[in-house]
């Protein structure tokens, strides 16, 4: 009897070991137009390096996500770690930044320590896979992040003197809901359309001399971890305005392709609550 019972249970278990056979892998694109007034924008960070031959596909995934989400996804490419070092004679342009190194480091999110390419979506773990994620996970995380609750809105304004290259910026924040943790604000400078060398294992030879770098992190305006936006307790409809004056834009950067990226984050969980961007000229 006991034997039959045990055997029966195991056979039952075998049938419960389900599997889903998929015959239609591709989902139909939904054509619903988003009419929400309050849009929680998503920050996608792509950690990469010019010596990382597996990184260009991830960069393409990031660009694709920016494009297909019509302004709701803001991407930053962060060059840091082993693959972002200089490797003469072919890889001699440095794209690393102090801010990027801090974010990437062991005191930050330890991304290149895990390997490149890897990235973060709102610096939050979706589906229990960890904060740092492979590019295959980004579309899922982005679509989930777009559904996260709207906490606050950000508005950037600036004045930029093209001859002196002095940038003054103001970030205004308005909370829609009450929030129980301290919130910080980080402001960085990002540049599009830089042409330089990149290793790409899909090419033979793998040295691409005219690779197009998009949304590349160039500099931090208020340090690696930003400034206090508002300390808890935060009530609904609270608003704050922060000024960042007299920032000198490096003459190496092409100011026609430069833009500010501001993001507000929860100081204790590090989750990014809102992001915004604005071209400097």
């Amino acid at each position: 009897m006991k034997i039959k019972l045990v055997t029966g249970l195991f056979i039952l278990g075998v049938f419960m070991t389900a599997c889903d056979k998929i015959s239609n892998p591709i989902q139909n694109a939904s054509n619903s137009v988003d009419t929400a007034t309050y849009v929680r924008k998503v920050l996608l960070e792509d950690y990469t390096g010019h010596f990382c031959g597996n990184c260009p596909p991830a960069a393409e995934v990031a660009s694709q996500l920016v494009e297909s989400n019509h302004g709701k996804v803001i991407a930053i490419a962060v060059h840091a770690g082993f693959y972002a070092k200089l490797y003469p004679p072919d890889y001699v342009t440095s794209f690393t930044t102090a801010v990027g190194n801090d974010w990437d480091g062991t005191q930050g999110f330890n991304v290149s320590g895990i390997g490149n390419p890897n990235g973060m979506v709102n610096r939050k773990s979706y589906g229990g896979s960890g904060v740092v994620q492979k590019e295959t996970k980004w579309p899922t995380s982005v679509s989930l992040a777009l559904q996260d609750q709207y906490v606050l809105g950000l508005t950037i304004s600036k004045t930029y003197n093209a001859s002196s290259r002095i940038l003054n910026s103001t970030v205004k924040a308005k909370f829609k809901i009450a929030y129980s943790n301290n919130v910080k604000l980080n402001l960085v400078l990002v540049e599009d359309s830089i042409i330089s060398e990149q290793k790409d294992y899909r090419k033979n030879p793998d040295l691409v001399t005219n690779y197009l770098f998009m949304h590349l992190l160039r500099a931090g305006i208020n340090g690696s971890w930003g400034s206090t936006l508002k300390d808890a307790p935060i009530a609904a409809k609270d608003s704050v305005s922060l000024d960042f004056n007299n920032f000198a834009v490096d003459s190496k950067f092409n100011d026609n392709h430069l833009y500010l990226v501001a993001f507000a984050y929860d100081a204790s969980t590090k989750e990014i609550l809102q992001a915004e961007k604005l071209k400097i000229r």
């Binding site: 070991t17 989902q27 597996n54 062991t106 589906g127 896979s129 590019e135 579309p139 899922t140």
Partner: protein, 567 residues
């Protein structure tokens, strides 16, 4: 938050230590209280940056890995905990091992009919092609299943196993749920007295494994449940042993079979399968072994976005020779889960004592050849429909990944002298094995390797050992893959002590300034189950593998200490 977990785990550790201490005192006096055993290992290294050999700056200066295990057992009951601490994790390991805590705990009750384990479980089905969880501290590999396992022997020779849980991922568990069932029957044991004793042992087994992970992808319909199944047969008679296992995995789109074209991700929804056959025949002094393996799309993880060594459900053994000397293991091979065809054949022969070639003690000769190739992937144009993307045919193999032709002669000359001579010819497709891409831009490495290992025992427990090794490779394009010479002198004056000096020299580097002697001095003390070793010097960058899992370790310069003990 982190500190809290840390504090509570620390408390738990002390509690366990305290408890086990009081238990153990009792245990010695009265066996009814059960027995306590444990072991620990502490590795620490002080790093000195050395830009010439490429040893990076380590901001912490000193890094350490440590673990301690305590097991308690009494009759049918056993339980155990493992505490791990990384402050911070040593160079070459995944830096997600950060901090400390209890990473493993289990309780088990074994009865005749049922054997139940809760907590962290290590087990394998068949050869592990579908399911294997194990712990390898040297590589920080631990994919234990945190869950429940039931084993039952309802009838003699018949075993059922069922388990469910989530896998360990650093200091937490992965997102996917793993469920598995395995049945095995030993016909000879089942039939027992009905068959004569020279009836061959025939073991039949079958397994089912399935993983569950929610699909939240906006672009794809990903399978939330990925099932896999397999069957195996083992026939043993006298010195003859035949083992074969075939496994099949349903569509499993994952980071491991994805590709990106123009920013669009494509997964392969193709099935995966694998076959592993091992046949051996051995008589006194002579043996043959033949292994064949074919693996196609068999990366199987409980998180479809996991990479590297993380969250693997199955184990794909490498059918290549596992080397113990440094130089032949310079470029070790690891199974390529995406697709591989591997074979290995080995003959071992011991020339009898008292013959001309056998001498007074006999001579052992091992001949081994192994080879691994990729599979030929045939493009399937279905990227907008079923998305399998490729197919493979049995019997069609792709590019060469690795070969190793190897001879070893082992001989004891006199009571004082013994020696080992080894020669290997190896081919290593560096782009594939090390960088996972055919276009990674590195040259293949073809090498000839020679090892001569001589031991002179000058007193009953005192000996001197000299190892000379050469790695000869014509590969000027890559300095670290050029030729190397290695010498090691080891002196063991008593059973307790040993002192060794190792020198590895990359004499063929085209730049004179980059030719280095990597000196490493090591001293060790062993007393029973306790062992302490201290080493000082330079270590070259390299790949270190245990059981088919490998890790890259950067060059280092400094002082390292290692303590292991068990009780």
């Amino acid at each position: 938050m982190f500190l809290k977990t840390f504090k509570s785990s620390l408390k738990a550790t002390f509690l366990v230590l305290g408890l086990s201490l009081s238990f153990s005192v009792l245990a010695q006096e009265n066996p009814d209280y059960g027995s306590i055993h444990g072991n620990y290992q502490i590795d620490a290294q002080y790093y000195k940056p050395d830009s010439l050999i490429g040893a990076p700056v380590v901001p912490e200066k000193m890094l350490s890995n440590a673990y301690g295990i305590i097991n308690y057992s009494r009759g049918k009951f056993s339980a155990g905990v493992r505490y791990e601490a990384y402050n911070n994790v040593m160079q070459g390991f995944d830096t997600r091992y950060k901090g400390q805590g209890i990473t493993n705990r289990f309780a088990r009750y074994q009865d005749k009919l049922l054997d139940i384990t809760i907590g962290n479980i290590y087990d394998q089905f068949g050869s592990g092609l579908l399911f294997r969880t194990y712990y390898e501290p040297g590589l920080l590999y631990d994919n234990s299943l945190d869950g429940v396992r039931v084993i039952s022997n309802p009838y003699k020779g018949l075993t059922f196993k069922g388990l469910v849980g989530k896998q360990r991922s650093f200091f937490t568990v992965g997102p996917g749920i793993v469920r598995g069932f395995d049945g095995e029957m030993n016909l000879k044991e089942m039939l027992d007295s009905a068959v004569s004793s020279d009836f061959p042992t025939i073991i039949l087994g079958g397994s089912f494994v399935s993983k569950y992970q929610p699909d939240q992808d906006p672009n794809f319909n990903l399978p939330e449940n990925v099932g896999s199944y397999g069957g195996r047969l083992n026939i043993i008679k006298g010195g003859f042993n035949f083992f074969a296992e075939y496994v099949y995995k349903e569509n499993d789109p994952s980071a491991n079979n994805s590709s990106v074209v123009n920013g669009k991700t494509y997964y392969s929804y193709k099935f995966g399968d694998g076959i592993f056959v091992s046949t051996s025949y051995a008589i006194q002094g002579l043996s043959f072994l033949l292994q064949v393996k074919r693996i196609d799309n068999m990366s199987y993880r409980s998180d479809r976005d996991a990479t590297l060594q993380n969250l693997m459900i199955n184990y794909l053994p490498a059918t290549t020779k596992q080397h113990t000397y440094l130089m032949p293991a310079f470029f070790p091979y690891a199974t390529q889960p995406a697709g591989e065809f591997g074979t290995m054949g080995e003959i071992q022969y011991k020339i009898k004592k008292g013959t001309l070639l056998g001498g007074k003690y006999g001579t052992e000769i091992t001949l081994n050849y192994s080879q691994a190739n990729g599979l030929k992937q045939i493009h399937v144009d279905d990227s907008t429909t079923t998305m399998t993307l490729y197919k493979t045919n049995y019997g069609e193999i792709g590019n060469l990944y690795y070969h190793d032709a190897f001879i070893e002669i082992n001989k004891k000359f006199t009571k004082q002298w013994k020696g080992t001579f080894m020669y290997a010819n190896q081919f290593y497709n560096r782009n594939i094995v090390q960088f996972g891409s055919p276009n990674a831009g590195y040259a293949n490495i073809l090498s000839n390797i020679v090892v001569l290992d001589l031991t002179y025992k000058y007193k009953s427990n005192s000996s001197i050992r000299l190892e000379t090794q050469g790695f000869f490779s014509d590969n000027p394009s890559n300095p670290n893959a050029g030729s190397w010479l290695t010498g090691m002198l080891e002196w063991s004056p008593s059973t307790h002590w040993f002192v060794a000096i190792l020198d590895q020299y990359n004499y063929s580097n085209p730049s004179d300034a980059l030719q280095f002697h990597y000196y490493l001095g090591t001293a060790g003390y062993t007393s029973g189950p306790h062992r302490i070793t201290l080493s000082v010097g330079k270590q070259r960058a390299g790949i270190f593998c245990v059981g088919g899992v490998c890790r890259n370790v950067p060059a280092s310069n400094g002082v390292a200490i290692s303590i292991t003990s068990s009780f």
